[in-house]
């Protein structure tokens, strides 16, 4: 009993393998002859091993909502600095949203044109082609409208992109414009050409993706510009 009390405080250290070899051997010798202490070691070990299984806990959703309401007002992220005055920051976000919506429409229309049955009755085929043609023109119209808006903003904010990035974007756009022109020419020659329709939508889709990515890059680069003097205070404080 006395020996048990003497060694008890060593038992957690034994479980954690923090005893030197001589002390550990002394404890092992005692455990071999004391079922109570051996049982205690088993229990302490179970507690420690179960504790290691206690992992992260998902916080309630309202915590983040309450947190963001306390952060300094910024752009949509609420965690950073707002746009500098005078920059058309919101227009890039609007363009990006328009491009996404247009891309969605094009996917739907493009999917339907790709699934046109090849051997339908003549009258039904004519009606289907008319419908497809009008929907295709509608989708292309939306694409080109969004692209025109982007071009307007890009012209006004040409300095937003690094020169090498801007050059790369321009090269890609030229290649896509060539593909679009060739696909449209093929459709004028043969309006029923499915490969031409697929090619046109693919080129438009890739142009939308490129413009969307570019708009997002410009959004981020505008957000990283130094704030005007009226912006939020810089973080200071003691080092951890």
């Amino acid at each position: 009993m006395t020996r048990c009390r003497e060694l008890e405080e060593h038992l957690s250290l034994y479980v954690d393998d923090l005893l030197d070899p001589a002390e550990a051997a002394e404890v092992r010798t005692h455990l071999d002859t004391c079922p109570a202490c051996a049982g205690l070691v088993t229990d302490l070990s179970r507690i420690a091993s179960t504790a290691r299984l206690l992992g992260p806990i998902a916080p309630p959703a309202h915590v983040y909502t309450a947190l963001t309401s306390q952060l300094p007002r910024t752009n949509s992220d609420t965690g950073g600095q707002g746009p500098a005055p005078g920059r058309p920051h919101w227009r890039w976000a609007a363009v990006a949203a328009t491009l996404v919506a247009t891309a969605g429409l094009a996917y739907i229309v493009g999917g339907r044109t790709a699934s046109t049955p090849p051997a339908a009755p003549a009258a039904a085929t004519t009606r289907a082609l008319d419908t497809i043609a009008s929907e295709l023109e509608l989708a292309v119209h939306h694409y080109e409208q969004a692209i025109r808006e982007f071009d307007t903003v890009a012209t006004a904010a040409d300095t937003e992109l690094a020169p090498d990035v801007a050059a790369s974007v321009r090269r890609s756009l030229r290649a896509l414009d060539t593909a679009i022109a060739e696909s449209r020419q093929a459709l004028e020659t043969d309006p029923a050409s499915e490969p031409a329709r697929i090619s046109l939508f693919e080129a438009l889709r890739r142009k939308i993706d490129l413009l969307q990515t570019t708009a997002l890059i410009v959004n981020e680069s505008q957000g990283s510009r130094p704030a005007e003097p009226a912006g939020p205070a810089n973080a200071t404080g003691r080092e951890l």
């Binding site: 009993m1 048990c4 009390r5 008890e8 405080e9 038992l11 957690s12 250290l13 923090l18 079922p35 109570a36 202490c37 051996a38 049982g39 205690l40 088993t42 229990d43 302490l44 179970r46 507690i47 420690a48 179960t50 504790a51 290691r52 299984l53 206690l54 992992g55 992260p56 806990i57 998902a58 916080p59 309630p60 309202h62 915590v63 983040y64 309450a66 947190l67 306390q70 952060l71 910024t74 752009n75 949509s76 992220d77 609420t78 965690g79 950073g80 600095q81 707002g82 959004n219 981020e220 957000g223 990283s224 810089n234 973080a235 200071t236 404080g237 080092e239 951890l240």
Partner: protein, 181 residues
């Protein structure tokens, strides 16, 4: 990636701070919940991330972002516990109990359900709970626990053992009429 995310947060990139929160909040919430208790865990997590927002400029990548956030979160929780102890007058809440010898031979605990251990943790005094959470749950060495709490390594080891002994009593299976067996 840590430096990139931290930089994006500092620069106010869209979605960056939310991404930081989604990645790290669960671990920090678990830490806060176990250190300060369920009633104050929500407020504690908010305070942690408000502090993160203020101090993120200090992160230089010398440790991982996860480690940096963990240390910050721990300090916020410990400051809160000290403040609470000052308000309640409970400045010394170390466990001093002398425990009975284990009744009979052999272990008295079977497989321990994690939920049962969480509940038993809530019943520990703050100091003992803190040592147990930092060492057994979060995996810190006694040297680091002692440094964080401003105690000696020996005290950290002693408090950990007493916390485990108290938990053993709490987790002891009850008889049919609720008496500990």
């Amino acid at each position: 990636m840590d430096l990139t995310l931290a930089a994006r947060c500092r620069d106010g990139a869209a979605g960056a701070f939310e991404e930081l929160y989604r990645l790290h909040a669960p671990r920090l919430y678990g830490l806060a919940r176990r250190l300060v208790g369920p009633d104050e865990a929500d407020d504690m997590l908010q305070e942690i991330f408000l502090t993160v927002h203020r101090k993120l400029a200090l992160f230089r990548g010398e440790s991982s972002l996860s480690t940096w956030l963990f240390r910050l979160g721990t300090n916020v929780c410990l400051d809160h516990l000290r403040s609470r102890a000052m308000r309640t007058g409970r400045l010394n809440d170390a466990l001093d109990d002398e425990f009975e010898d284990g009744a009979g031979a052999g272990p008295i605990l079977g497989v321990i359900a994690r939920l049962d251990l969480e509940r038993a943790l809530d019943a520990l005094p703050p100091r003992a709970r803190t040592v147990f959470v930092l060492h057994d749950v979060e995996g810190l060495e006694h040297q680091d626990v002692a440094s964080l709490l401003g105690i000696s390594e020996g005290t950290s080891k002693s408090q950990l053992h007493k916390a485990r002994m108290r938990l053993r009593q709490q987790l002891r299976p009850r008889t049919h009429d609720g008496v500990a067996s």
